[in-house]
Every structure is written in structure tokens, then in C-alpha cells.
Symmetry: C2
Subunit: 201 residues, 2 copies
């Protein structure tokens, strides 16, 4: 079995959302699966001394929102820039890790549903009750999931994932790792496709 | 006549180099020409509070050099990361403006030749004698060109171009403007191609 593609993302990252909508079909075209690994850009940016695009230099922040929207149209993905942005997605991120242990078949659908709730339907995914509702709509026990996000082992797992990402040189999201090769950004999907199709270049 | 595509670049920007190798054929496919407009990222970064990629957070700096090289291979462009990097390219940038006035047919070939000297042949294009040599190899009078870069009007023109770029919201390079629509980065060439082929999206 070839290695799964590791997809490191933050639920508050627009380019992570755009890539998340494309990475699974892309992977499938080349016989690969995707592991969605949440990280927390807040901690990453603290290590790197960076900040969310929308909190950077004014003209760059303004261009970024325009580019999120234009890049979504280019990719054929519906996008509505969230009215509350950026947000912290600790609960939803822990929920992904809990699902990977307890309902592994639901982890990817949950990631997609949370992303869409935030970047298409302007729902406040930093709110645990919203996360529970999204889970429930997928046939997951919402209250059990939220309870799971409070388990020490799950909290530790997310903390460790973020630390490991920083230690291995991750500085932004999405970071997509294919057989050890790291690609940063939604813009790198065409390079990833070539890498999967014909090997390292 | 449709508007020319404005290509704002810094000679010390790897992604500007990669885009410069692709933008003219891309433009020609859609009946457009390209105006190469040098800017100085040093001044832009001073306004924006940013820095060259290779001087940012260590892991990001390291990834960037890897990405310059991989993106060049992806685009089929020969690339050798310069041993002296980044450099200030004031003389070469002024030379482009002088050529646009005095030898307009030579401005584009000169831009391409300077970029290749730096990013393929590891020449120090911050050195005026290197700039003169490159010009000479294109049949341009090298000493006259270097003299031209000292004209007050040429100095003013570059200064004004940089100020205008900053005032209009430019924060990096390449910045490519198509009929007033701004695209930042070599990564946006596919979006530009669609824009030219089928209009705004």
C-alpha cells in the first residue's frame, strides 16, 4: 500500500479549505488516501513570528480576502468569507483526533463538513455546540464527541501534533506531505499531482 | 489594441524570474504584450514590514529555497540559486527604464538576460560592470546604458515607480496587473491565463 498523503491544516485557514476540497479526488486519481491532521496556526505563528494574512500589512490583508474568493471561483468551490475571522478551532480540531480513534470512517466527512460550515455557511465553528450539531448531522453522537474533546489523551494528542509539526519545519497551512516531501499551500496542488503521477522531480 | 499586461518585478525575486520566463508566451497566446516594470522590494518591504523569504523564520527560509528550485523544475526553467542572495538591483532596474525610452525593442530581452545571468549563471547583477556586459552581449552600448542610469530623470522614474506601486497596494513581486486586476505571485499564472482566455471570474 502506498503511503497516505498527510494533510496538515487549520480550520481557520481559507487556503486549507480550498485544498481540502480538492485533495481527496486528487489523491484517489493516484491510488492514495488522505490523512487529515489538524494543527493550530496560532501556535505555529507564535513559533515563526508570523500572523494570519488578514492581520498583516493592510494592502496584503485586503488582497488576501480578494484572493481567497477569486481562488475559490477558480477552483469551482463555493466560498463566503466568514464574518468572524480568524477563529480558534481547538474543539473541532480535537474532535477530528477523537473521530480518528473512535469513528475513523467519519473523520474525513467531519473535516469537510466543519470546513464548509465555516467557509460556506458562516457558522461559528469555534462554538462547541455548533461542532456538536455538525457532528450530529453526519450521524455522529454530538455530545459524546464534545465530551471526547475534553479527554486528556485527546488534548495531549493535538498539543503533540502541533509541536511535532513545528519541530519538523511546518510554518503554515495547508502543509501537504507526500512520501516525506513537503508542499506548502493550495497553490502546490499541481506540483503534488505531478509528483504522484510521475515521481519526484 | 488590448491593454498590455503590467509585470512588476524585482531582479532579486526568484518567483519574479520564474514568472518572467512564462509571462510573454502566455500573453502572446491571448494577443497581449507585456510591460516589464522594475520595482525595488527593499522599499516595498520597508513599507509593509516584511523581509525577503530567505531572511524569514528558519524553516520557512529553508523551504523557500527548496521551493524555488522545485518550482523551476516544475516550470521547465533552469535555476541555480545565486551564491550572493538577495542583492540590490538598482542599476539594472534603472537600465530597464532607460532602455524603455531609448531602445524600447531591447527592454524585454534585457530583462530576460539580466534575470538569467543572476538565476542561472550566478553573475553578480548588482555590479554595474556586469550589467554593462550583459547589455553589450545584446548589442546595446554598455557604457552609454550605465551612464543613462545616472540621469536624474531615470533615477526619479524608478523612485516614482516604486512609490506608485506601494501607493496602489503592491506588497510583493511579481505583481501582475491585467486590465486593472492584480495578481500576486508566479502561482497565479493559471488564473491569469483563464482571465485572459475567458474574462473576469
Amino acid at each position: 500500500m502506498p503511503n497516505p498523503i498527510e494533510f496538515l491544516f487549520d480550520f481557520s485557514s481559507p487556503y486549507s479549505f480550498l485544498a481540502s476540497e480538492q485533495i481527496e479526488p486528487l489523491a484517489a486519481r493516484h491510488g492514495r488516501t488522505v490523512v487529515f491532521q489538524p494543527i493550530l496556526l496560532g501556535a505555529v505563528f507564535k513559533a515563526s513570528g508570523s500572523a494570519p494574512l488578514t492581520e498583516q500589512y493592510g494592502p496584503k490583508a485586503g488582497y488576501s480576502v480578494h484572493d481567497f474568493e477569486r481562488s475559490a471561483r477558480f477552483a469551482g468551490v463555493r466560498y463566503r468569507h466568514p464574518s468572524k475571522f480568524p477563529i480558534g478551532a481547538v474543539t473541532a480540531s480535537r474532535a477530528v483526533l477523537w473521530l480518528r480513534q473512535h469513528r475513523p470512517d467519519q473523520a474525513s466527512p467531519f473535516v469537510r463538513a466543519v470546513f464548509r460550515a465555516f467557509f460556506q455557511d458562516d457558522r461559528d465553528i469555534s462554538d462547541a455546540s455548533v461542532v456538536a450539531e455538525i457532528a450530529q448531522s453526519l450521524g455522529i453522537d454530538g455530545p459524546a464527541l464534545i465530551e471526547g474533546t475534553q479527554e486528556a489523551a485527546i488534548k495531549d494528542a493535538l498539543r503533540k501534533a502541533v509541536e511535532d509539526a513545528i519541530a519538523s519545519g511546518v510554518f503554515g497551512a495547508p502543509t501537504i506531505i507526500v512520501d516525506g516531501e513537503m508542499f506548502w499551500g493550495n497553490d502546490r496542488l499541481p506540483q503534488i499531482e505531478r509528483w504522484l503521477a510521475s515521481g519526484p522531480f
